[in-house]
């Protein structure tokens, strides 16, 4: 039984599947990390993903090129980010509630737009895998990491980029200060409002791209509820990863690899009740959180609207 799982081709298959599954989580969670680092938590990720998924799909279907779809998804991200900013920063609404509102808005609008513009299930030409020269020829590693479409590479590349931006640039310092002590940042002449808006827009673009990955880089189609809760898992991964890009990478890979493993365990017909297999990624992630939960440290001003008048 278990020796079937230890065959090299199976291990390669599992990790390749896991890398693909981790991509939307990585994109959405890294974006959400920027939101939260600046002091805003956005529970609307799922809705933004659905909008990005639909608009990306629709534009790709109409124009014949997934690249136009990506551009459109970025536009959706900017719009949804500004909308969330208007509600939660300018109007200072309760962030949890406005995020849920954004979620419902995005899911409902994507479904409605799909109905009136397309209305039937159809496939599109998505992004093709790009084998990275030389690296993709490496045994094992080449197949696992260097034979995906560009969105997968982009998502993984965003991990060190996010880390660099957050910890090695002054702008990253400003973001962190807006989330830790917005009053102090304000005293120093930083515009907390501008920082938070920018981060919401960046986070929202990332979420829209995560959605567009599902339609343009993964399934090459759109159907109702394509995101299927991935946006909420992405929000959880930000906490799991302790608001750090590397932590989020670890969490996304852990969750997705266990998910890939359970799919393969089922495919190979190993005698495990499928219910246990299906819930394994969730259970193990909760366990990992419990075991590793020493001291939860988050942006101190997370969730608190900033008001210069100080009330």
């Amino acid at each position: 039984m278990i020796d079937q799982l230890l065959q090299m081709s199976v291990i390669v298959g599992i990790i390749t599947t896991g890398v693909r599954l981790a991509t939307p989580f990585l994109l959405a969670a890294l974006g959400e990390m920027f939101d939260q680092r600046a002091g805003v938590y956005n529970l609307g990720v799922e809705g933004i993903m659905m909008m990005g998924a639909f608009v990306g799909f629709w534009v790709a279907l109409r124009s014949g090129s997934p690249w136009w779809g990506i551009l459109a998804a970025i536009g959706v991200g900017i719009f949804m980010g500004l909308l969330m900013g208007l509600i939660s920063i300018t109007l200072q609404a309760e962030q949890g509630i406005s995020g849920i509102g954004l979620y419902m808005f995005g899911v409902g609008l994507a479904g409605y737009l799909f109905r009136i513009t397309v209305g039937y299930i159809t496939g599109i030409e998505g992004f093709k895998p790009i084998a990275i020269p030389y690296l993709s020829d490496l045994p094992i590693v080449g197949q696992i990491f260097f034979n995906h479409n560009w969105m997968v590479y982009f998502a993984f590349l965003m991990v060190p980029v996010s880390w660099f931006v957050l910890y090695k640039t002054t702008w990253g310092l400003k973001i962190r200060s807006a989330g830790m002590t917005p009053e102090a940042a304000d005293t120093l002449g930083l515009s907390v409002v501008a920082i938070r808006y920018t981060c919401l827009v960046i986070g929202s673009i990332a979420a829209a791209l995560a959605g567009a990955f599902l339609t343009l880089g993964h399934t090459n189609m759109y159907a109702d509820n394509i995101s299927a809760g991935r946006g909420f898992i992405a929000v959880a991964l930000v906490y799991f990863g302790r608001w750090s890009p590397w932590g989020i990478l670890g969490g996304a890979l852990f969750f997705s690899l266990v998910d890939a493993l359970q799919l393969w365990v089922q495919v190979l017909g190993l005698n495990i009740p499928y219910e246990f297999a299906v819930m394994a990624p969730y259970v193990l992630t909760i366990l990992a959180l419990t075991v590793a939960a020493r001291q939860i440290w988050g942006p101190a001003a997370l969730g608190k609207p900033f008001n210069r008048e100080g009330d």
Partner: protein
């Protein structure tokens, strides 16, 4: 004060007259409400039933049949609110399209004894509840025979949703069909744990194919994701369920077991006209034409003539009762 009471009385009379008119109109018209777990365009379970109801409407006339549809009510608790709403608005036939609605219907139906309710896959009918019951295992058996004959790798992958209702019947019948023809072929059944996660279904199909499967099948609306994934690999075929799904992958979807929901809805409408509001267990089978195998005309050349003949023979045997496809006990 007097004027006011006259006004109230006349308003009451007016409203009584109006409602009487409305009542008369309703008597000529049959009002059907459809509760769907997914959407009318899911290319499977829900779309099949929607097309069935629309076909009944087209046949009996737009003025004779009113249709209202509520989508995305996979959760029975949400569905219950909609079902109750339709019942109190005076709908005649409320179809809750899924096995998960059985218990909420049993709870609501006694409060509206003149309304007909229906659900399926299921077999427990009550006073004013119809249960419809596609014999998914029958068509699945035939598709299993086809898969067993066509596979070159002797590995056949099943992309299942949740182990329940239709999926259990389908997979059980499919496996019997495979084993009857080719005992060496391996049927690998896996579940995503969801009905609607098309990305997960796509990933499961990819895993099946990476592990060597060259013929795949499965049930539920999420399979469209799996079909699309199969379309990326030449030489892999998909055997569909619920309805003809070849539009999404014309070179991949070989056959499908299609349900004739129109006949079921028509039967229920007829029963009502005869004064029967429920209590019938309506079976969709090969024998009564409630289900059938449709072959994608694009790919009919893929199926050798002798295999087609064998499947036709098995279909006859099932219809004649010579061949019984077992169900899990």
């Amino acid at each position: 004060m007097k004027k006011l009471s006259i006004l109230i009385v006349s308003l009451l009379i007016l409203s009584a007259l109006l409602s009487a008119c409305a009542g008369q109109q309703q008597a000529q018209k049959i009002r059907i409400a459809l509760i769907l777990p997914s959407t009318v365009d899911d290319l499977s379970w829900s779309q099949g039933m929607t097309e069935g109801v629309k076909a009944v409407q087209a046949e009996l006339g737009e003025d004779k049949v009113e249709v209202a549809i509520s989508e995305r009510l996979g959760n029975p608790t949400d569905a219950a609110a909609a079902i109750r709403q339709y019942a109190s608005q005076g709908f005649d036939l409320i179809i809750a399209h899924g096995s998960q609605y059985q218990s909420v219907l049993e709870e609501i139906a006694p409060e509206f004894p003149k309304t007909s309710f229906a659900y399926g896959t299921g077999f427990q009918a009550h006073d004013n509840i119809f249960a419809y019951d596609p014999q998914a295992q029958e068509g699945a058996y035939l598709q299993g025979m086809l898969a067993a004959k066509l596979t070159k790798t002797n590995i056949i992958g099943v992309v299942g949703p949740i182990e329940a209702g239709d999926a259990i019947k389908y997979n059980y019948g499919f496996e019997q069909g495979v084993k009857a023809v080719n005992p060496d072929a391996e049927v690998r059944i896996a579940y995503t744990g969801s009905f609607g996660d098309i990305a997960k279904a796509a990933e499961l199909a990819k895993a099946h194919m990476d592990a060597g499967a060259d013929i795949l099948t499965g049930t539920a609306q999420q399979t469209v994701g799996a079909i699309r994934a199969c379309a990326e690999r030449p030489g892999v075929y998909w055997l569909g369920n619920d309805m003809d799904q070849s539009s999404i992958a014309p070179n991949t979807v070989l056959t499908a077991q299609a349900y004739d929901w129109k006949s079921v809805v028509m039967q229920m409408v007829k029963f009502r006209q005869e004064g029967k509001v429920g209590g019938e267990h309506l079976v969709l089978s090969l024998a009564n034409g409630g289900l059938n195998i449709v072959v994608n005309p694009n790919l009919s050349s893929v199926i050798p003539a002798d295999v087609m003949a064998m499947i036709e023979q098995a279909k006859k045997d099932i219809i004649d009762g010579k061949l019984v496809v077992e169900l899990p006990k």
